[in-house]
């Protein structure tokens, strides 16, 4: 009898919590919220990362190491630490501006908007990809297109169409976001003719300092076979406070 009562309680609890769980679970999340969650996951309030970038070309490849700092959507700083030729080069993104400090010529160069869609340091990423001048949350309209499985994980497939006001070169971007950890696992970029241009794959989900991230991001330009760029996060620290005056052109020159 007692057992039965216990079972009832259990069932009662289950029935009671059922709607709550569903409410929290994916089904009811809007596409925009999913993208925001994924975006927050990789960004945090602030972040401080140690990155390795590999440029892979059919006949050669090249590796660079850098440190990156970011604060929210608007501020980020990248310092190249190796190879020796580029050591000390700094990129600063401040709201919509991008600055580049080149120690060998002792100059700070402001990248004009026209250069934002050009290759960043010879990689398959553009300057825009680097600084994320466009926000994947506020500069796009999002539409959930169902679910697909990527790397054995259940993913939301979301189509993102840039808002007319946003300075974005893509006609549309399709992202696959893992429904469990809200990590962006795959992204496809389409140009104005609707042609697939780039595929970005994220993999090697790791827990770094209590947070799950995709530690390897691979960019594959579709029309250039054998070309790719791989970003590996060696370490990342989230949410240590960074002061706003860290992100200044003056600080670029003394960054170590």
């Amino acid at each position: 009898m007692k057992n039965l009562q216990f079972l009832k309680v259990i069932i009662g609890i289950i029935i009671f919590t059922m709607p709550l769980i569903t409410a929290f679970s994916q089904e009811n999340l809007s596409a925009k919220e999913i993208v925001k969650k994924a975006d927050d996951n990789m960004r945090g309030k602030t972040s401080q990362a140690d990155i390795t970038i590999k440029i892979i070309r059919p006949t050669w490849s090249r590796e660079m190491n850098m440190k990156a700092w970011s604060k929210g959507d608007d501020y980020s700083m990248i310092l190249v630490t190796s190879p020796a030729r580029e050591k000390g080069t700094v990129f600063l993104k401040r709201i919509k501006e991008v600055w580049n400090w080149i120690p060998s010529i002792e100059r700070t160069i402001k990248l004009p908007p026209s250069m934002m869609s050009q290759s960043w340091m010879g990689t398959d990423f553009t300057n825009d990809d680097l600084v994320k001048a466009a926000s994947s949350v506020s500069d796009y309209d999002h539409k959930l297109q169902g679910k697909e499985t990527i790397l054995d994980k259940d993913c939301y497939k979301i189509e993102m169409i840039p808002k007319p006001s946003a300075a974005i070169v893509w006609e549309k971007v399709i992202v696959w976001i893992d429904s469990e950890d809200f990590l962006q696992l795959k992204t496809e970029f389409y140009d104005e003719d609707g042609e697939l241009v780039n595929i970005m794959n994220s993999s090697e989900i790791k827990e770094v300092r209590g947070r799950k991230i995709t530690s390897k991001i691979e960019m594959l330009p579709v029309d250039k076979e054998g070309n790719s760029t791989v970003i590996i996060y060696n370490d990342i620290i989230f949410d240590t406070p960074i002061n706003y005056n860290f992100f200044t052109t003056r600080n670029m020159k003394q960054l170590k």
């Binding site: 440029i55 190879p83 080149i102 060998s104 010529i105 100059r107 010879g122 990689t123």
Partner: protein, 406 residues
């Protein structure tokens, strides 16, 4: 017998013969001079442009021309030099590392062409050191300074000993940035080069681009322009075509080739008109001769001279006159051309500026290629022989009775 007859006939009326001969002489001379002059101007122009830019022939890494990126460079190779120099027509080799970059001084910035050069090899070909207008020329490939076109310097508002900042794309996606002291300014004929070029010692340029020991091209200078195609072919035989490509300046600068072609067709029309006028002069003397000698020819036929033999004698006469005129013309042509090759005409004033705008030395050279003499003389000879067929034809149709009575 007939030859002797013809020879004697010529000198029966000396004045007529001399007039005809002189008109042929001047045609040949004029035609030779016009042709030699234009050819000389073209050769000079090609040599000028080519020695600063591409060279007559360039060797690249295969695929460089279609994608002129620093990633398509090749390892400097002593063996390649040896192989190229084996060809006797090759006089100089100029290694080059050619890239594009942004140049900045104070608040001015401009896109520029950086030519990594071997200063000693370069000056042997195009006398770059003589074009220095301020400062000094870079002396060796290890020199740590650059030389600018003075047009570029004035656009950047920069002087000798100022420090120029260059920012470009390095080898295999590395960065290419640096500060360089300007050692000298050069004034180059071609405004395109003068306003854009930065000469940098090879080692320095390779270091800046992270491309140690690498070249974009080896420019080949030749002793003559005429054997370009055969030379290109023989170079292609001697080097590894899987690794390199060989290109002539005509392929690399088709616009100049087309300009020359268009311009020279204009000259063809002028020489054509010249020939036309001359042939009429010649024709009129022949007509006059026929008229004068109608009576005599009639008698000759009447006393049994074969018509075709007589026609042949007349033909021989014309050929002799033409030959004399032509050979005198050639000799005079050679003398004049020799004189002007030794003492070329220096242009002055406005014409000089026009030439410099085209990027060419303001000197008029004459081409002394034997081709010119032979073709021009041959053309005149053929024209005069064709015309000489007319009296022969007239003789064949001649009615002796009418001729004698005329």
């Amino acid at each position: 017998m007939l030859l002797k007859l013809a020879w004697l006939n010529i000198w029966r009326n000396k004045r007529r013969t001399i007039i005809t001969t002189t008109s042929i002489f001047f045609t040949v001379l004029l035609a030779i001079l016009v042709r030699s002059l234009t050819d000389g101007i073209y050769e000079n122009m090609i040599r000028n442009v080519v020695s600063y830019s591409s060279g007559y022939v360039q060797i690249h890494q295969k695929g460089y021309w279609d994608e002129q990126s620093i990633d398509n460079t090749f390892e400097e190779d002593e063996q390649l030099y040896q192989e190229l120099l084996k060809n006797t027509n090759v006089t100089h080799l100029m290694p080059r590392l050619q890239t594009f970059a942004l140049a900045s001084y104070a608040d001015k910035t401009k896109g520029v062409l950086i030519l990594g050069i071997d200063p000693t090899k370069e000056k042997a070909v195009n006398k770059l050191h003589e074009k220095i207008t301020a400062g000094e020329y870079i002396e060796t490939i290890d020199d740590n300074a650059v030389v600018l076109g003075d047009g570029l310097a004035s656009q950047l508002r920069l002087k000798v000993n100022d420090t120029l900042v260059l920012l470009g794309q390095g080898y295999h996606a590395s960065s290419a940035a640096g500060k360089f002291i300007v050692k000298g300014l050069v004034k180059l004929g071609s405004p395109e080069l003068n306003n854009n070029v930065i000469y940098m010692p090879m080692k320095l340029s390779q270091f800046m681009h992270g491309a140690e020991g690498r070249l974009t091209a080896v420019s080949v200078m030749l002793d003559k322009t005429t054997n370009l195609e055969t030379l290109k072919f023989s170079l292609e035989e001697s080097i590894d075509l899987k690794k390199y490509e060989v290109m002539s300046w005509k392929e690399m600068m088709p616009e100049m080739d087309q300009f020359i072609e268009a311009d020279s067709s204009g000259h063809f029309i002028i020489t054509g008109i010249l020939y036309f006028i001359i042939s009429f002069g010649l024709f009129s003397t022949l007509l006059m001769m026929m008229f004068e000698r109608k009576h005599e020819i009639g008698i000759l036929i009447a006393i049994g001279m074969k018509k075709h033999l007589l026609g042949f004698v007349l033909l021989l006469e014309s050929i002799m006159i033409s030959l004399i005129g032509c050979s005198a013309g050639i000799v005079a042509g050679i003398l004049v051309v020799k004189w002007f090759t030794k003492y070329p005409i220096q242009l002055t004033g406005e014409l000089k500026e026009v030439y410099e705008d085209y990027g060419v030395d303001s000197i008029i050279y004459f081409s002394s290629s034997e081709n010119v003499f032979i073709t021009q003389a041959l053309i005149v000879l053929i024209v005069s022989i064709l015309l000489a067929l007319y009296p022969g034809f007239k003789v064949m149709k001649l009615k002796p009775v009418e001729a004698i009575n005329s």
